[in-house]
């Protein structure tokens, strides 16, 4: 809330105009919209597509779309998709190869013109998730070209969080409901009070300033700024969940043989939903496609998950055949080994994996149980030590 000066206030018409301006720039505007009993992310034609008057009630393994009397548009928590659906799509062609009648092979790298996106309503947790995927997919020695192009071309409109859900725990992952720092073009904060339904706008980039200049808006007033800050500050204290306040890397490292993995493995369906909904999970497998003649071949990327037995298939069989080892891979990667690989946690506390797990397995509860088990173990060892 603090680093960028507030620069304007939009009303619903202003929001509509903003969508028009971005579409007129040739962008595909993606935002929240109601579909099939949930608020999903999809292409938005106008502000009418946004979920005005809809919210969500979530619990572990449960999501319900609920009407909101206040008409709020950004007062809902994470649906089953994240922005990775667009930046890191579930299936993408890498190259194709042709064999000519004389037997010569030609390989063509797939290099389509990438969609220029505008994302409307990116939560602070999801902004952090995008930054994490940037490091994974666009950084390093072998950046993913398609991702990088889509990412550089994307216009990000953040929406600060004023209504955390029961499965949210971003604060305990070092984040929070406020958008601070950089990494966005515009940041909105929804305000609903006697002053009306409006959005405080902050500018985060040149492109953001240009877009805002193109739409009717009022200058930021102290009242709106105060109300916005108060709503976001209140959200910070209303997180539905929290990670145990311990060093998670050490906890995971010292829990590899814990009994808790058996307990969670008995409940886990190994269905892969958690990794698919997670905004930072990036794993893919390659798909080799040939046609019946064998003269045309293609290589595609498609989302994969460490819950797939084939994911760890090496010569002779899978390395992680048991559910225990697969759940452990997911949790230890998210909370611990991600640091070694990419220098941060792999979890931003968005709560999606908790909400969208059909059996409601809760990453914070599992971490807490592992912590309790380790604490018990350490107590026991200490007792033995003193008895000697």
């Amino acid at each position: 809330m603090t680093n960028n000066p507030a620069t304007g206030v939009l009303d619903r018409d202003g929001l509509s105009a903003l969508i028009e301006v971005l579409a007129a720039q040739g962008r595909t505007v993606i935002g929240p919209t109601v579909r099939d009993g949930a608020i999903v992310l999809a292409e938005i034609g106008s502000a009418d597509d946004l979920p005005f008057g809809w919210g969500s009630e979530v619990e572990a393994g449960r999501y319900r779309l609920v009407p909101r009397a206040d008409g709020a548009v950004f007062a809902h928590t994470a649906g089953p998709q994240s922005w990775k659906t667009f930046l890191h799509p579930q299936r993408e062609k890498l190259w194709s190869a042709e064999r000519t009648p004389d037997g010569a092979l030609s390989v063509t790298e797939d290099d389509p013109e990438q969609t220029s996106y505008a994302f409307l309503g990116v939560r602070p947790c999801d902004l952090r998730a995008i930054t994490i995927q940037d490091r994974v997919l666009a950084g390093g020695r072998y950046p993913d070209r398609g991702y990088r192009e889509r990412r550089t071309g994307a216009f990000l409109i953040a929406a600060e969080c004023t209504e955390p859900g029961a499965t949210c725990f971003c604060v305990s992952m070092g984040g929070g409901p406020a958008v601070d720092g950089s990494g966005f073009d515009l940041a909105l904060t929804e305000v609903l009070d006697q002053g009306g339904h409006r959005f405080l706008v902050r500018v985060g980039s040149e492109a953001g300033r240009d877009a805002l200049d193109g739409v009717p808006h009022a200058p930021a007033d102290a009242e709106t700024e105060y109300a916005a800050r108060a709503a976001v500050d209140a959200a910070r204290d209303r997180m539905g969940r929290a990670m145990p306040p311990v060093d998670l890397r050490t906890l995971m490292g010292e829990s590899l043989e814990a009994d808790r993995w058996d307990d969670v493995a008995a409940r886990c369906l190994t269905c892969g939903n958690c990794t698919m909904v997670c905004p930072t999970c990036f794993c893919t497998t390659t798909e080799e496609v040939t046609d019946l003649t064998g003269d045309h071949a293609e290589r595609w990327l498609r989302w994969d998950s460490c819950f797939d037995v084939a994911f760890s298939h090496l010569h002779g069989g899978p390395v992680r055949a048991s559910a225990r080892s697969r759940y452990r891979q997911w949790l230890t990667h998210k909370l611990s080994t991600w640091y070694e690989q990419f220098g941060s946690s792999g979890c931003v506390g968005c709560g999606r994996c908790v909400t969208w797990c059909p059996v409601g397995i809760d990453i914070t509860e599992e971490a807490a149980a592992l912590h309790d088990e380790r604490a018990g173990r350490l107590r026991h060892e200490k007792q033995k030590e003193t008895q000697r």
Binding site: D36, R64, P80, C268, M276, T290, G294, R302, V359
Partner: protein, 251 residues
């Protein structure tokens, strides 16, 4: 190199899976150029004798005659692929495995002594070695083409055995269990259909049988929570792949 021969056989089944081959309209001509269709009664009564390079077998083994026949088919086929829930799991007719077949024949037929059936309906792999099993009731057209194409290219078919949920999420469907409390077998069912049912707001019926690592015991309490009693759960699991799911319940 001579063109490989393709043969399609049927045991106890509804013919729907082999129909999938005829349903490959756009690819049929190309396929006819890449293989010689030597035995496919649904398409042509002209039959060439074996051996065959690639045999697709539909249907389950329900009679002593079928058990004998499937051994003959195996002996004549270099590469044998079973297609569909009947051939890979016993099919809907495997419901008899949980009942008394003699009692059925007495109740249904005027002359039960004319009926010569086995007490169980079993997958082809219970009788002979099978090179690949393609699941589904019916099988998926694209997957069938993938199996044939992979065979022609001499590679492994890309038929993942993870859950339907993978496909459901890739497709961007809102989970019917989490968002609506609708019972769904997706988390324990083998992918392959492209998660059609949840995309239309229905739970998965398990047409493709158990996934590569199903945890039915963890799912059943959820089916109960969403309004199914024991009988309803049993019925849900006992459709096209009853013996396969039954084995998982017992494991």
């Amino acid at each position: 190199m001579s063109v490989p021969t393709l043969a399609v056989f049927k045991l106890a089944s509804c013919d729907g899976c082999q129909l999938t081959l005829l349903d490959c309209e756009d690819e049929l001509l190309t396929l006819a150029g890449e293989v010689r269709i030597a035995h496919f009664l649904e398409a042509s009564s002209a039959v060439t004798p074996g051996p065959y390079d690639l045999a697709l077998v539909e249907g389950s083994v329900t009679t002593p005659a079928d058990a004998e026949r499937v051994r003959e088919i195996r002996a004549q086929s270099r590469h044998l692929v079973t297609i569909g829930a009947c051939a890979t799991a016993g099919g809907i007719q495997a419901l008899r495995n949980f009942a008394d077949v003699e009692e059925f024949t007495r109740a249904v037929y005027a002359r039960p002594d004319y009926i010569d059936v086995l007490a169980t309906s079993t997958p082809v792999s219970d009788h002979v070695d099978v090179d690949f099993e393609l699941r589904g009731c019916p099988i998926d057209r694209k997957q069938l083409l993938e199996v044939i194409t992979a065979y022609l290219a001499g590679r492994k078919p890309d038929i993942p055995d993870h859950s339907v949920c993978f496909a459901c999420k890739r497709r961007g469907t809102v989970c019917v269990t989490v968002a609506h409390g609708t019972p769904c077998l997706g988390p324990v069912t083998h992918a392959g259909c492209g998660a059609i049912c949840p995309a239309y707001g229905r739970g998965c019926y398990g047409c493709f049988g158990p996934s590569g690592s199903p945890n039915l015991r963890a799912l059943i309490p959820l089916l109960h929570r969403d309004g199914m009693d024991d009988r309803a759960v049993e019925r849900l699991l006992r459709t096209f792949n009853a013996p396969a799911f039954d084995k998982e319940v017992r494991s």
